[in-house]
Structures are given as structure tokens and as C-alpha cells.
Symmetry: C7
């Protein structure tokens, strides 16, 4: 975990890895981050919606809009 | 499902296919994605509004504004 | 219904026709779309406000701001 | 009522006339539109606040910010 | 009250005068408008917060951000 | 208190002084304003969070984002 | 604590240190700030979510989007 990596560098480093995403309003998405763009729109594969940590729905591939993201964390 | 396809590449790849869209506030739209623009405004054909996965209304063709979209998933 | 018409092409194609508009917060407007601009501000004639599909108020001509629109559908 | 007048043309046409404005959150303003700018900020004279169509307060001259407007209708 | 004065002209004309400001969420501010900028940020002197027209708090000088303003009315 | 000082001039004049800040949602911050930028992001020292005028928490130094500020008042 | 350091200078000064972040909606994040960008997106390491000051969840590394931040305070 390199010191001082910039926010978008972090995204780049965790490509292909499992991430946990917290959305505004409290919903959570877990899945494999496979790409992102400058608006922090993400492509997530094998995406699952979680509710309080419990699996709520399996979504598969998902294009998640950046504007609603609270945080992204490598799982 | 190509690795590392960018968010807008994903939209391009699923043109003509069935997608599930989750909106802010929880509503869901299901239908065939036939076009999009840079704001992620979408044209959906044979669009249906779902409520908790249950059919709520058949809308037909729909221009859906990108700003309210939480995620888009190929169905 | 041409394949792949862009979101704003759809608006252009349905000029003069009846459309149903769903706003953020759930309100619906039905009326004849007579013009639009790049912000998706719309001019609607013979506009009616609907509540759960029931007529709530007859408004006549209306300039509807694009920023609050969830979707627009040819009726 | 000319066909195809653009949203801002409509505002221009009804200058000096009575308009009804619906705001986000449901409040209504009625009064004489005397000017507007590119952000759809409006100057309204003899403005009244309405609640469900009933007079709530007489405001007089008012500068109404465009960002909160849902729709504007010539009364 | 000149006809057709633009929204920012109105602000300019009432500099030094008492204004009533309605904010999103319903709060009201009353005081003397002494300056503004292009974002409609206002400097108000002898500012008072009102609740349903009743004095709630005396604030004195206040820099009020434009983004939360619903309308401004010369008192 | 110079007449007609612009909103950002007011901030400049009160640098080093105690200010009261009201945020969207109603929370209040009180502390010494030591700097600001063009987005009205503020650095506050000896910052305290207030709830209805009562001390809720002592925060110390704080970078407060401008986007959530309702008003700033020299205390 | 240098007088008059600008908001982004403060972030720069506390790199590598523990910070407390308050989000819109009331959630709190505590952890070590290791980088930021111009949108105030932050990378936080050893991040913890707090609820009313009590530990709610250990997140580890986190990319926190700037748009939802209310304030950032060196802990």
C-alpha cells in the first residue's frame, strides 16, 4: 500500500480486485472493480447488493454511477 | 465480457439488449437499451417500471435522464 | 421507431405528440410536447398534472424545467 | 400560441403577464413576470404565495431563483 | 419599479434597503442588503432569522450563500 | 462595517475573528476563521459544534467545506 | 498551526496524520489521511466508521469522495 497514492491511483491499483462500495442512502455494493472513468463511474463484475452486510441481490455486471458513491474500499 | 472495458464501452456493448436500471429513490426500470449520450441519458424500449422486482407499469419507449441513475446492469 | 436514435433525436421525433413525463418525487405531467432545449427544458401544451394516473389539475401551456425530469415517454 | 416556440421564447412572450410557478417541494407563486435571465431567475411583481391554490401570503416584488422552479405556466 | 429590470438589476436597485429572503427548507432572513456577487451570495446587515414571520434570532451582519435562496423580496 | 463590501471582502475582513456558521440541516459551527478559498471552504480554529446554541462538541481545527454552508456571521 | 494556511494547505500539512471526517447525514470516518485531490476526494488508511463517536465498522483503506464531506479535522 504505497504512501501518498492519489485517489485515482488507488482505483487503478485495485483493478481486478474485490471492492466494497458504500452509496449515499446507505446501500452497499460488493464486487470486482474492472474499470472506472474520470467521473468515478465504475464497472463492477459479480456485483452483489448488500444490506447491513447481508446479501440482498446478485446483480452480475454493473455500471455504477460515480455521483452516488460515498466511498470505495478494497475488500 | 472483456476485461477493463470502460463504463461507456459497457453501454455500447449492451446496445439492443435488456438492461435493469436502478434509480435514486429505489425505483427500477427494465427494458431494451437502444441508445445513450454523454450524460448517460438513455433511450429504453419496451420499458417496464418495477417495484421490488414486481411489474408496476408498462411504459413502452422512454427517454431516461442520466442524472437519476444509480446503476445499469445487463439483465 | 428507428433503432439507435439518440436521446435528443427521440424528443425531436415526438414533437407535436402526447408525452407522459415522470418527475422526481413522483408527480406526472401529460401533454403535447412542442419544444425543448439543450437542458431538456420542455414546452408542453394542454398539460395536465396526474397523480397515480388520475387527473389532478389542468395547467394548459407549461415550461417544464429539465432538471427535475426522471423520464419522458411518448404516450 | 406559436408552434415550436423554444422554452425561453415562451418566457419572452409572456413578459408582463400573469404566470403560475410551481416550485420543488410543492409551493406555488403567482404574479406578473417582468423579467428573467439565462438561469431562469425571474422577477415577479404583485407576487403571491399559494398553498394548494389558496392565497398564503402577498409578497409584492420578488426575485425568484431559477434552480428551484419545477414549471412556469401562463395563468 | 422600472419595467423589465433584470434579476440582478433588481438586487442592485434595492441595495441599502430592507429585504426578506426565503430559504430552501422554509427559513426566512430579514435585513438590509448591502452587497451581492454573481453567485447571488448576499451580505445582509442587521439580519434577523424569522420563523413563520416571528423573530427567532438576531444575527447582525451575515454572509448568506446564494445556493440556498428561494426568493428575495424588497420588504 | 464598510458599506457595500462584497461577500468575499467580508470574509477577508473577519479573518482571525470569531464567526458563527449555520449549515444546511441546522447544525452550527463557532470558531475563529483563519482562511478561506474561492469555494468558500473555510479553515476554522478552536471550532465548536453547537446544537440550538448549546455546545455539543469541541473539534479544534477544522476544514469546513463551503457547499454546505447556509450563512457565516461574525460573532 | 500556521496562521492563514489555506484550506488545501491544511490538508497537505496533516498528510500521514489521523483525521476525523464528518459526512452529510451525520456519519463519521476516522483514519490516517494519505492523499487527496482537487475535488477533496481523500484516501484514508486504517479507516473506521463511527456512529456518535462509537466504532461501528473497520474499513481499512478507503477512497472517500469529497462531495459528501461536511468537515475534516485533524484528530
Amino acid at each position: 500500500m504505497p504512501q501518498n497514492e492519489r485517489p485515482f491511483d488507488l482505483l487503478n491499483r485495485v483493478l481486478g480486485q474485490l471492492v466494497l462500495i458504500r452509496l449515499k442512502g446507505g446501500a452497499q455494493i460488493r464486487g470486482k472493480l474492472t474499470s472506472f472513468d474520470i467521473h468515478m463511474n465504475l464497472v463492477i463484475q459479480e456485483a452483489e447488493e448488500l444490506d447491513d452486510g447481508q446479501l440482498k441481490a446478485k446483480i452480475g455486471t454493473m455500471l455504477l454511477r460515480g455521483g452516488n458513491i460515498l466511498y470505495i474500499s478494497p475488500a
